[in-house]
């Protein structure tokens, strides 16, 4: 493929719309005569609703309806399970019974003529519960870990005899980790505007997966899929929280149905901690055995993730352990602990970021047991193939990432002994960790329309939660069609557009980009066919294989002229050309190769030895992630992920009160995330990687891997600075105070 635009630092095509307020988000789609709905969340952590006194609330100003399990529509809840839903269990059937399964579960919704009236009434609604004490802590003796019952491959993997290898290993570490629950906390809250026309429902809803939301709401309400339309042109950050369709969407549609008016429903910040998923708390054990010269002989990685009582949320907590390093004996085992909480959900770098924290922290510990530099230890155990799958990697640049990253970061200046580096009175530590994420690629379709004025319109039901889908797809289309980016208009986020996979798992660029490219290629063929059939065209009568596309023009092969611009070809009939195509993956390549991105992440921390403050002064991620479509977007994507990793390492934790399961810090002032002042110098660099196997564009995706590896790099740097191993996240002042 010739590249003129792919790989170029094109600025965001939607940047102006975003900074001027022209970009419209779900809650901006106010409808004529709409009402406002406010959810009433359970204040018990387990039990059932025994009384709900709605009469006084109905008498309050502006109140139109109070809906609870007593008067809610009985919904069909037809079977629906998407790729992003837990395989086992059933979604929460909202307002269909009196059961309270977790603190904050919706138990009623108030609809009123204004938001103020609805909020006031929701606060005034008195509800009584028969409450029991929930179990919300996986270390609670009443919490019982179980085997996942589904078939998804997150459960167990084994090769060789890892326990035996550990027992025999001359050098070993065997340690446990506890990682806190996190909530996604995007800037934009979940929001939905629901409007019915007869049996047709339109939703303007924050969603990373509009075609799934369409199908799910249709199943819940027992409607034909085509009767539901979901629109979401812009997303104000999501990090995975909008992958699934959560109960508030159903509630908004139900409320609109019951009051016969459009209804707008926006979750409060606090409600964003209740029913819209979270990164599950995980408990892990990692044991690694090695020879004295640093060859890994055995790895045991056991992981335990929390889930709800009604769904088995699984994630790829242990997947990377089987392919990261060369080792003949590996055993992983995955368990779930059902608790009285809402179902967790994928959060940026799902599974891998948690599992790699444990693995990469333990590897750092091993490097100190061995007295071998942590990068050298990884180099000595670099595999030549995916030993878990017994397949070659389509590409793997981990060693190059370490080499380039180490040089750029100045790793050679590091003195290995803990507490050996200082800056004035501050303790300085440098840490490193590997990152990895699989290359997902799912079927996608796209449509492109070429107009006689030379512009092109691309339509696909994809999303843009921030990585720059609008921009990167514009680049792909402009490149493929040979026209300037200004002539391309990309539209996404409508369920009646050609279907796209979830906007997550780092698959958008690969999957949607390949479909857009395919649609543009198909459009080019259509243009050529029309020209060939046009007596006035220079290519009239040529065979399709006898013409070529050059810079938005068609010419005969071997013709040195500029060719006939497609706008001229289309001007003949005035009819636009529309083409529709899907992406394609060579199934043989997928069978033959193990496909993953890899990276090396470096962090430098400075710790005040007196008061324990920890600051990440600089960090660098070096990634081998296939072709980089837009270095500006890629760099922004990666530094954003690294900041998420700083949050994971040092700040983020949803604190649950075990007495009733309430999140106590469900507030932006109390749920800590990094602010500008916490961010030092961040840099992402990309190792050249030409991977012809992953997809036609050669891209692997970046969104998820950017968070993986950051937390262990920081934890390892904290050990280097202080000599103290902290094996839980987040690591806070109180953890290093006495180091």
């Amino acid at each position: 493929m010739t590249t003129t635009l792919i790989g170029k630092p094109v600025t965001r095509v939607d940047g102006r719309a975003k900074v001027t307020g022209a970009a419209r988000y779900a809650a901006d789609f106010n409808q004529h005569a709409q009402h406002y709905a406010v959810i009433v969340s359970a204040t018990a952590g387990l039990g059932r609703v025994t009384a709900l006194d709605d009469a006084p609330v109905r008498a309050m100003p502006g109140v139109v309806e109070v809906i609870s399990h007593r008067n809610a529509l009985r919904l069909a809840y037809g079977p629906h399970k998407a790729f992003i839903d837990p395989e086992v269990g059933e979604r929460l059937h909202v307002l269909q019974d009196d059961q309270v399964r977790f603190y904050g579960q919706p138990v009623a919704v108030v609809v009123a003529d204004t938001l103020d009236h609805a909020e006031r009434a929701a606060n005034a609604l008195r509800i009584s519960y028969a409450a029991e004490r929930p179990v919300v802590d996986p270390r609670d003796p009443k919490a019982l870990a179980v085997e996942p019952s589904g078939s998804r491959g997150h459960s167990h993997a084994a090769r060789g005899d890892a326990d035996r290898a550990l027992a025999d290993a001359p050098v070993k570490v065997d340690v446990t980790y506890d990682m806190a629950r996190e909530n996604h906390n995007p800037m934009e809250p979940h929001a939905v505007v629901a409007a019915w026309e007869g049996d047709r429902l339109t939703l303007w809803s924050k969603s990373q997966f509009v075609v799934n939301e369409q199908a799910e709401i249709a199943a819940i309400f027992g409607l034909p899929v085509q009767n539901v339309q979901v629109n979401c042109p812009f997303i104000g950050g999501a990090f995975g929280t909008s992958l699934r369709t959560w109960p508030h969407v159903t509630i908004a549609a139900m409320a609109a149905r019951q009051v016969g008016r459009p209804v707008k429903l926006v979750l409060s910040r606090r409600q964003m901690f209740f029913t819209t998923g979270h990164r599950p708390r995980t408990l892990q054990r990692v044991a690694i055995g090695a020879t004295r010269d640093g060859r890994i002989t055995g790895i045991i990685h056991e992981g335990n993730g929390e889930t709800s009582r009604y769904e088995e949320f699984t994630e790829a907590l242990l997947s990377a352990t089987s392919y990261m390093y060369s080792c003949p004996n590996v055993r992983t085992s995955y368990r779930l602990t059902p608790l009285d909480i809402g179902t967790p959900n994928h959060m940026r770098g799902p599974g891998e970021s948690s599992g790699m924290f444990a693995l990469e922290s333990a590897l750092d510990e091993l490097s100190y047991e061995l007295g071998i530099d942590p990068i050298e230890l990884r180099r000595r155990n670099e595999p030549t193939m995916d030993e878990g799958e017994n397949k070659p990697f389509s590409s793997r640049s981990l060693v190059q990432c370490y080499e380039r990253g180490a040089e750029r970061f100045g790793w050679a200046q590091r003195t290995p002994a803990p507490r050996s580096m200082r800056d004035g009175r501050l303790l300085v530590g440098l840490g490193v960790a590997s990152a990895t994420y699989p290359v997902w690629y799912l079927p996608t379709s796209a449509r492109v329309r070429l107009h006689a004025d030379g512009t092109a319109a691309v339509e696909v039901a994809a999303s843009d939660m921030g990585p720059g889908t609008y921009t990167s797809m514009t680049q792909v289309a402009a490149e493929t069609l040979g026209i300037p980016v200004e002539q391309v208009r990309v539209s996404i986020g409508r369920s009646d557009f050609p279907p796209a996979p979830p906007h997550g798992g780092s698959m958008t660029m690969a999957s949607v980009g390949s479909a857009v490219r395919a649609a543009c290629l198909a459009a080019r063929d259509e243009v050529a066919r029309r020209a060939i059939a046009d007596q006035r065209s220079p290519v009239f009568g040529a065979a399709l294989e006898g013409v070529e596309w050059i810079g938005g023009s068609v010419r005969r092969l071997g013709d040195a002229s500029a060719g006939q611009p497609y706008r001229d070809i289309l001007a003949g009939s005035g009819q636009p050309i529309e083409a529709h195509a899907s992406n394609h993956r060579d199934p043989a390549a997928a069978q033959r190769y193990s496909m993953h991105s890899f990276g090396a992440v470096f962090a430098e921390v400075a710790i005040d030895p007196d008061v324990g403050t920890i600051r990440v002064r600089r960090a660098l991620g070096a990634y081998g992630a296939g072709r980089i479509v837009n270095p500006l977007l890629a760099s922004s994507q990666c530094t954003g992920g690294m900041i998420g990793g700083i949050g994971m390492a040092l700040m983020e934790q949803t604190a649950l009160d075990v007495r009733d399961g309430r999140p106590v810090n469900a507030h932006m002032a109390d749920y800590l995330m990094p602010v500008n002042l916490d961010i030092g110098q961040l840099e992402a660099l990309f190792v050249d990687e030409d991977d012809p196997h992953v997809n036609a564009l050669g891209v692997k995706g970046l969104g998820e891997i950017a968070l993986v590896g950051m937390a262990p790099a920081i934890a390892n740097a904290i050990h280097h600075a202080t000599g103290k191993r902290v094996r839980h996240l987040p690591i806070r002042i109180e953890d290093v105070l006495t180091a």
Binding site: V611, G612, M651, V664, H667, M673, E734, L737
Partner: protein, 325 residues
């Protein structure tokens, strides 16, 4: 938010009259509106005092005089603040966020409500919000709570940073009310929770804070505020210390020390001040004195670390102020 009446006044007399009749003063609104939206605060009448001429920041001899309606950001940036009382500027900048500092008034800052999460959740027992209902924090998640001045009824810390500096510096406040004017030390504004945690301050009904006077002193220029927290901005102190030193040769003539994040009100550390008097500037003397700060501390289930952190924070602040950092 519950309905309320809103009145904007142009004179102090009108403001005090309205407040004496039950209205609540509103200035920047950064605490009050937030809490009203959660229905934690439920005033029926608000009287907006932003039009009153109380925004002056000026020097009066060696004293710094701050109008009660001066915004935190204006006070922090004012040349007289920086010249006379850099500790006030530093403690202000460490507080809140730029957006909040642009809105919040000095008087409102002193009267801000606690950050205890249970206080903010209507379905949690809280003696401060709902007297007699109990305290959810004592047996709950209390890592951010107080170790000094607590009672069996409330363990919430006072959240203000600048109040810690004002208490250290012995600032006074002038208030006017239906029965005239009075002046008293800022330190006396704050009550201990005892068995009436819903009563937080000593203002009488209708009283309006008019100005704050920070007396000059030989220690004012050698003063620092250290705020220790897990993120670098927009977080309340785990522990903070405001210290001011008057040095003579290599030793301490007098010291002022107050701490935040650990007490149910800003906490002046007089025993530490006494112990520093006449001591040589240096870590040993600082540490010995700072240890006295632990007297009477009562850690809760999740905040033992504050006992470790409190003297360390004082020592570091003393080193910063003493120029030995």
């Amino acid at each position: 938010m519950l309905p309320f009446s809103f009145e904007k006044v142009r004179t102090e007399q009108d403001a005090i009259r309205a407040a004496a009749a039950g209205a609540r003063y509103i200035a920047g609104g950064t605490t009050l509106i937030d809490l009203m939206r959660d229905e934690v605060e439920r005033p029926e009448r608000l009287v907006d005092i932003n039009a009153l001429p109380m925004t002056d920041i000026r020097a009066d001899g060696a004293d710094l005089v701050i109008g009660a309606l001066a915004r935190m950001s204006d006070v922090a940036a004012h040349p007289e603040t920086k010249r006379l009382q850099p500790l006030i500027a530093e403690s202000l900048i460490e507080g809140a966020s730029p957006q909040l500092r642009n809105m919040a008034s000095m008087g409102g800052n002193l009267l801000q409500r606690v950050r205890c999460p249970y206080f903010r959740m209507l379905d949690a027992a809280c003696n401060k919000r709902d007297p007699g209902s109990g305290c959810s924090a004592i047996d709950g998640l209390n890592a951010g709570h107080a170790i000094l001045g607590t009672s069996d009824h409330c363990v919430a810390t006072h959240p203000s940073d600048v109040a810690v500096a004002l208490v250290a510096l012995g600032a006074a406040m002038r208030v006017r009310g239906p029965n005239g004017e009075r002046t008293f030390p800022v330190e006396e504004l704050f009550r201990l929770p005892g068995d009436t945690p819903h009563l937080e301050h000593t203002l009488r009904p209708g009283e309006l804070i008019v100005e704050i006077r920070v007396p000059g002193g030989p220690y004012a220029r050698q003063a620092r505020y250290l705020k220790v927290r897990d993120r670098a901005s927009y977080e309340f102190a785990l522990v903070s210390a405001a210290v001011a030193l008057e040095l003579e040769g290599g030793s301490i003539r007098q010291a002022r020390v107050a701490v935040g994040g650990v007490g149910t009100r800003p906490w002046r550390m007089r025993a530490v001040e006494e112990a520093l008097r006449g001591k040589p500037v240096g870590r040993d003397a600082f540490a010995e004195a700072a240890h006295l700060a632990l007297e009477g501390t009562r850690p809760l289930s999740h905040n033992h670390y504050k006992v470790e952190l409190l003297p360390r924070t004082i020592v570091r602040a003393l080193e910063m102020a003493g120029g030995t950092a």
